[in-house]
Amino acid sequence: MLHLRTIASREIKLGFRNPWAYSFMALFALFSLALLLIQSQAGLSGYTSTTGTMINLILYLLPLMTLLLGSFSLTTEKEEGGWRLLSSFSLRTRSYIWGKYAGLAVVLIVIVAFGFGLSGISGTLFGRGFSLQAFGLFLLFSLLIIVQFLGISVLLGALCRNRWQALTYGVGIWFFLILGWPTILIAVLGFLPYLFIKPTLIALIFMNPAELNRLFLIVKMGGGSILGPEYYQWVKWIQQPMGSLLFAGVLIAWIIIYVEAAAGLWERGRRRG
């Protein structure tokens, strides 16, 4: 536990001294502020096109930022010899990987919360912002995206040899899960007999953290009807009290699977030397 804490606290220090972190924060605050202003001018509440755009903004920016920052943190250590030195210490691989995960999670959560805080304060001071519930759901949605994609990024960092490789695969994963997903989904489901579509679609939703989080937020904000009546029927379990628990369980399970897989891969490399 001491080792995990030490690794995490160094990661937090490094994270907050990384100029990248502040660039992302500025970008995020700027866009959320712009959307907030549009929302206040329109005078709308609940699930609107602005909230939809806000969800898309979060989905475009946060997973990419998390994938790159997370995987770079691990590949940099491989490239610069940091891990070679650490592997001569009595440091357990799991403590190292989970420490990295915890430290990066703190950095990213603080950055995003700060960005939201800035736009929230501005909204309160200068006009009508998002409702408190919408604001809270956006923040929760963003934090969940971060912790989920951070798990993937740690696994990516364990798989890649250097930053270039991590960048290439990171952008690829982002494109596949965020931009390409609907097209791939429609293409794959079109080949299936009708009876198989529903179970396949539900299973695929659980495979993509971005999609699972997006659906959860839309349904919780009362915008489920935009999904269409049939699709909404399939995902309205989210609305029920057990839905939130199931959602949380799936997220935690995925994080553990990603990070433990990363630790397993890293340990295999260490044993083989």
Binding site: R10, L85, L86, S87, G273
Partner: protein, 248 residues
């Protein structure tokens, strides 16, 4: 007679079809200073990495205080202080923060961090970012890192690279003092004068082969008229088949 601390038995390392280190054996006693001498590609770092537990031997065994790395990794690692050859410090941390981080992993307190910073002449610049340090200053910080927990075995890969004459001599004094306290020191170098001045034993390595292993005093005596350790190295390397030398 001091107790044997490190035993290396017919250890070799191959990656694919290329052999980085041919089977070699070595025994290091407590308080002994051993220099691994040779040019680039001689196999010095390969051997040090295997002793440090960073890479695994293809064949043979390494026992530190009777322990193999695979038996008890934690106990093994606690007995080694390792200074790498190639290491790039991140740009964000200061000298104190860097050393304190490694000290925390070794469960060593802040007092020892400050003491070592003073020993290696970096106390005054402890608040400066390591990225602004010269090569010599970074080497001294890495050396301090290896000495943090006063481990029974110090493994130093090219520790004098980039050091000015003052710190080269100070390095010699420090490893002599560590050996005086019973710590064994194994270091690699291509500067034979360092090995001649401070090591008790030397290994001459050429293209992954150990060509000579023995006491420095014996070598100096044997090659007195031929330039001491330099002469000895030249003659031993000259006796190696040209094909093997090309592998360097």
């Amino acid at each position: 007679m001091a107790k044997e601390l490190l035993r290396i038995e017919k250890v070799s390392k191959s990656i694919g079809k290329s052999t980085l280190l041919h089977p070699c054996s070595l025994s290091v006693r407590e308080g002994e200073i051993v220099a691994l001498c040779g040019g680039n590609g001689a196999g010095k770092s390969t051997l040090i990495n295997m002793i440090a537990g960073i890479s695994r031997p293809t064949s043979g065994a390494i026992l530190l205080d009777g322990l193999a790395w695979s038996d008890d990794r934690v106990a093994y690692a606690d007995r080694v202080g390792y200074m790498p050859d190639e290491f790039q410090f991140g740009s964000a941390l200061t000298a104190y923060e860097t050393l304190h981080f490694y000290a925390s992993l070794r469960r060593v307190g802040s007092d020892r961090v400050l003491e070592l910073l003073e020993t290696v002449g970096l106390l005054e610049v402890r608040s400066r970012k390591v990225s602004t340090f010269s090569k010599g200053m970074r080497q001294r910080l890495l050396f301090a890192q290896a000495m943090l927990a006063e481990p029974p075995l110090l493994l130093l890969d090219e520790p004098t690279n980039g050091l000015d004459p003052y710190w080269m001599e100070a390095f010699g004094r420090l490893i002599r003092s560590a050996a005086g306290n019973g710590q064994a020191v194994v270091f690699s170098t291509h500067q034979l004068n360092i090995a001649e001045s401070y090591a008790d034993s030397a290994l001459f390595m050429v293209a992954g082969h150990v060509q000579y292993s023995g006491e420095v005093e014996t070598l100096k005596e044997q090659y007195r008229g031929a330039g001491g350790l330099y002469g000895a190295f030249d003659r031993i390397v000259a006796s190696v088949a040209p094909m093997e030398r090309e592998g360097e």
